[in-house]
């Protein structure tokens, strides 16, 4: 049944599709159709992998493992367990959304534009699937390159400066992590397994305490920049604002998620002691981010910038949940990251539509869209409400789990988290009010959703509803891998709360 190397295909199919892209460069329509077809095939493969697992659950996690650089013990190891699978599916889904959301940004060089999106999908899938640390570090660095070009070539404003800023911020973290990965490999070479970069082997290393803490710091710095955690978030608002729509979707929906995912998958199990020791720092930074982002978001005059700051807040809460030591909050963080991928994806797509229609995304020209374009307004409102964690929509599940989890661990943290979520409500309601309702501040007409945009928003809204109403499948699929990780990092916690995992 699983004869084909599905995981490898998931990574390399978009890359292969991107290589063939120049063949279509003569016609923009051909580029669009071909790119959409490639993204749909990727999504279909992700779905197929899910189905393969659904049929025979015992085959989770699936592994593809080939010797790569034998002299150093580096292997090409891809592992797909439930946690990876959720993000792989999200990546494929966002990929389709990217293809649907781009109409005005692909004007100048459509073939290059879609090829970069496809390359980006490939590298992100690699990050979610690699369990050899060297391979992971390679994909981690590589994922910056297509996004760099995407922002720099197709962005707006001072796009070249923004693209380089984005790249440098990420590269600082990435290279320090790279050094830490090398150091881990060297420690492993002295150990019983010989040189290896396999995640599973490295989690069993007994590192000196101080070393482990330094290495943890290097890993976490890299992930924190990507997440982004205050105070290393400075690249994000600029990058989001100037990026083309698909670039924003990829940044918010995928790249930020790679940070959270890597924190769970790599930083926690590799350095459990350091993770516990530094958890308070990360929690505080995450919660500060939540309040800070709400505060700054309130002052924004640009729809996209406001949504960008909301990303910082939501991901800050996710970080606080990930390191909290509560298995429930950890699961909540994963759901929340998926939900955030969907809601911010929807909001960025619609911010892009506003920009296309009005020529500006400033609140000064908005207002009254609800009356001008009811379908657009409805979709926008659903995204805002899902982001604000209205029960029944995707945001609620994650945030509820996080809050319950945090309260069980520490009442003060939980209280601050709730307060922070209340703060997010303020700017989200302002976002809805100033765009949808109130008197229109501009006489310009506002076309309602076209069939293509309707399809895009319908897919996103349905996904939000699905996670909001039936989170069961997602929760059950991530429960086993999260149990294992929690068991490694907080042995006591895991045994107590495993039953509450759902």
């Amino acid at each position: 049944m699983r004869d084909l190397p599905w995981l490898t295909l998931l990574i390399f199919w978009p890359l292969a599709a991107a290589v063939a892209m120049p063949l279509f460069r003569r016609s923009r329509e051909a580029c669009r159709s071909y790119a959409l077809a490639a993204a749909l095939i990727e999504a279909a493969m992700a779905l197929l992998v899910i189905l393969l697992f659904a049929v025979g659950r015992s085959s989770l996690p699936a592994t593809e493992d080939v010797a790569w650089i034998p002299a150093l013990g580096i292997r090409y190891t891809l592992t797909c367990d439930g946690l990876s699978l959720v993000f792989v599916a999200l990546t494929a889904f966002i990929g389709v959304c990217c293809m649907l959301a781009s109409r005005h940004d692909d004007m100048k060089r459509p073939a290059l534009y879609y090829a970069l999106i496809l390359c980006s999908l490939a590298t992100v899938q690699g990050v979610f699937l690699a369990t050899d640390l060297f391979l992971f570090a390679l994909f981690w660095e590589a994922q910056l390159i297509p996004v760099f070009f995407l922002i720099g070539i197709f962005g707006h404003g001072d796009r070249m400066r923004v693209a380089i800023k984005f790249f440098l911020f990420s590269a600082v973290g990435g290279l320090l992590m790279f050094l830490a990965v090398i150091a881990l490999g060297i420690y492993a070479a002295d150990g019983p397994t010989g040189p290896t970069f396999a995640l599973y082997d490295l989690t069993r290393l007994h590192l000196p305490l101080a070393t482990a803490r330094w290495l943890f710091a290097a890993f976490v710095l890299s992930f924190a920049i990507k997440i982004p955690l205050v105070p290393v978030h400075m690249w994000l608002p600029d990058a989001h604002t100037e990026a083309p729509t698909a670039g924003s979707l990829i940044l918010a929906g995928l790249l930020l998620k790679t940070g959270g995912y890597a924190l769970i998958r790599f930083a926690l199990p590799l350095f459990p002691e350091a993770a516990v020791a530094y958890a308070p720092v990360l929690t505080v930074l995450g919660l500060i981010g939540l309040f800070y982002a709400s505060w700054v978001a309130l002052a924004q005059e640009d729809v996209k910038r406001l949504v960008a700051y909301s990303s910082i807040g939501h991901m800050g809460l996710a970080v606080a949940a990930i390191v909290s030591g509560s298995r429930l909050a950890l699961g909540g963080a994963v759901v929340m990251m998926v939900s955030h991928g969907l809601t911010s994806g929807g909001l960025f797509a619609q911010a892009g539509m506003i920009g296309e229609r009005m020529g500006s995304r400033r609140f000064a020209v908005l207002g009254g869209i609800w009356n001008k374009a009811p379908r657009f307004g409805a979709a926008f409102l659903v995204c805002v409400l899902a982001s604000a964690a209205l029960p029944g929509l995707s945001g609620f599940v994650g945030e509820a789990m996080i809050v319950f989890g945090l309260f069980r661990v520490d009442v003060v943290t939980g209280a601050f988290a709730v307060l922070g979520m209340a703060a997010t409500l303020i700017y989200l309601l302002r976002l809805a009010r100033d765009t949808l309702f109130g008197p229109p501040r501009s006489d310009a007409p506002f076309a309602d959703l076209s069939p293509r945009e309707t399809a895009l928003m319908a897919a996103l809204v349905l996904a939000m509803l699905w996670i909001g109403l039936f989170p069961g499948p997602v929760l059950s699929i991530i429960s086993a891998p999260l149990d294992i990780i929690a068991g490694q990092v907080w042995p006591a916690v895991a045994t107590v709360t495993t039953g509450l995992g759902l």
Binding site: P70, I153, M160, A163, I182, I186
Partner: protein, 468 residues
């Protein structure tokens, strides 16, 4: 296998091929005045190919270092000839001397790389350098080139004197000219001599603080010559540095390693930070090569902990990247002068997708980004440094590497993220099929080493292991 090559001196085949090749190109020009244009480069390329074939064919008794360098220098020389052929032709300085000097310079580099004797080291270094001085000035009516050659030659002569004095001290202190024996002898005089010898070698490697000639010379030299200079002579001199670090006695290393740490750190800092402020692409690449040599010096420090293998891999990768980068600059240049100002590269990525694509790929590799050979090279070099315990230097080096990413990206961004400017016509002189082929072979090599480094690493480990 060695049977088909066993002559009188099987181990000397690469050297004789290079020497005879130089003579043959000169002779061909004398005896056939009206020879077709392509004759000289093709003849030179055929001779340059011999060491490469020998490297793959020779028996296990050949020295590992020689085999590695025969292969590497053969590739570099072939690449240089490919890049040079049409370039020199278009600019009217192609001739027998150009190819003859290239081959002889390669011979000097080979002798330098495999030298186990101080005199041979000196001879190789000087043969390589003397030919290079002339090559830099090969374009006769080009004042910049002549100035560059002078700026390379005068300090080079001082460096040679320093090296010679260092060698004489070593000989005085140890009584032998064999590198390993003399360094094993130890003692203060030998250590002082070694320090002076390192100054001479450091000059050729453009290690800070004796790097000042590099940007001027690279900027003034014709781009393909700069490619040859920055890859071949650097690779060969780095071999000498590795050799010295591997053979130096523990007490000599005790004195030298702090100095090397400082030099390595300084080179990374000066190279990377210096490149930030450049408005000229060739100067930028020159500073970048200073920084790359800092990484090599770091690997040389860690030579006991696998730094040797790491450095050899890095050198192979570096040779490809710089050959490609300078080669692309040459291929993209108009016939009056090389395309040098960074602003003149605006939007070239779309006007010349293949040539500029090769340049961008080499730059990404210089920055150490995956999936290129530069990424694997950095991995190996930093791994060796960490294993040898130079943690601080490694962290410093990584931070400097981020700066390296910045200027490489700035140039890549200029290629793709700016609109082309009317003032800088996008039309280069025809680069010819050989240059295009070379650039694409280089890019393919970088990708291949980046994705599949195993075979080369295994080969290097075998060669180094076989030697020691």
């Amino acid at each position: 296998m060695p049977a088909q090559l066993t002559g009188l001196f099987p181990d000397l085949i690469p050297h004789m091929a290079l020497a005879a090749g130089g003579l043959a190109t000169l002779g061909a020009a004398i005896f056939r005045r009206g020879a077709p244009k392509g004759l000289l480069p093709i003849l030179a390329a055929l001779f340059a190919l011999v060491p490469g074939i020998w490297a793959f064919q020779s028996g296990p008794d050949a020295s590992g270092m020689t085999r590695f360098y025969a292969g590497l220098l053969s590739a570099i020389t072939l690449g240089t000839i490919g890049l040079l052929a049409r370039y020199a032709d278009e600019r009217k300085f192609s001739g027998d001397a150009l190819y003859g000097l290239t081959l002889w310079s390669a011979l000097g580099m080979l002798l330098l790389a495999e030298a186990t004797d101080w005199l041979m080291l000196l001879l190789g270094l000087e043969l390589a350098s003397l030919c290079l001085y002339a090559l830099v000035a090969a374009r006769l009516n080009d004042r910049l080139g002549a100035e560059a050659a002078l700026k390379y030659f005068l300090p080079g002569a001082v460096a040679l004197a320093t090296l010679t004095f260092g060698i004489s001290l070593i000989y005085a202190g140890s009584g032998t000219l064999d590198i390993a024996d003399s360094l094993a002898a130890g003692g203060p005089i030998v250590t002082a001599g070694l320090a002076l010898a390192l100054v001479g070698i450091g000059f050729k490697l453009s290690l800070a603080p004796i790097h000042l000639w590099t940007p001027d010379t690279y900027q003034g030299a014709p781009a393909p010559v700069a490619a040859f200079l920055s890859t071949g002579s650097k690779a060969a001199t780095a071999a000498a540095l590795l050799h010295l670090c591997a053979d130096a006695s523990p007490d000599a290393m005790g004195v030298l390693s702090p100095a090397l740490v400082a030099i390595s750190g300084l080179s990374m800092a000066v190279g990377n930070i210096g490149a930030l402020r450049q408005k000229s692409v060739k100067r930028l690449l020159a500073y970048s090569s200073i920084a790359q040599m800092g990484y090599i010096a770091m690997a040389a420090l860690a030579v006991e902990s696998g730094g040797g293998e790491a450095a050899l891999f890095y050198l192979a990768a570096y040779a490809l990247m710089d050959l490609g980068a300078f080669g692309a600059v040459g291929a993209l240049s108009g016939d009056a002068a090389d395309r040098d100002a960074i602003t003149s590269y605006q939007g070239l990525g779309y006007d010349h997708p293949w040539l500029a694509g090769a340049l961008a790929f080499c730059l990404l590799s210089l920055a150490g980004l995956p999936p290129t050979a530069g990424f694997i090279g950095k991995f190996l070099v930093f791994g060796a440094a960490l294993r040898a315990g130079y943690t601080g230097l490694a962290v410093f080096g990584i931070l400097m590497a981020v700066i390296g990413i910045f200027y490489a990206l700035r140039l890549v961004a200029t290629l793709y993220m700016r609109e082309s400017v009317e003032a800088y016509p996008a039309v280069p002189a025809p680069a010819g099929p050989a240059a295009g082929l070379t650039l694409w072979a280089v890019a393919a090599g970088l990708l291949w080493l980046g994705v599949w480094p195993g075979p080369l690493m295994a080969a290097i480990a075998k060669l180094v292991g076989g030697q020691g």
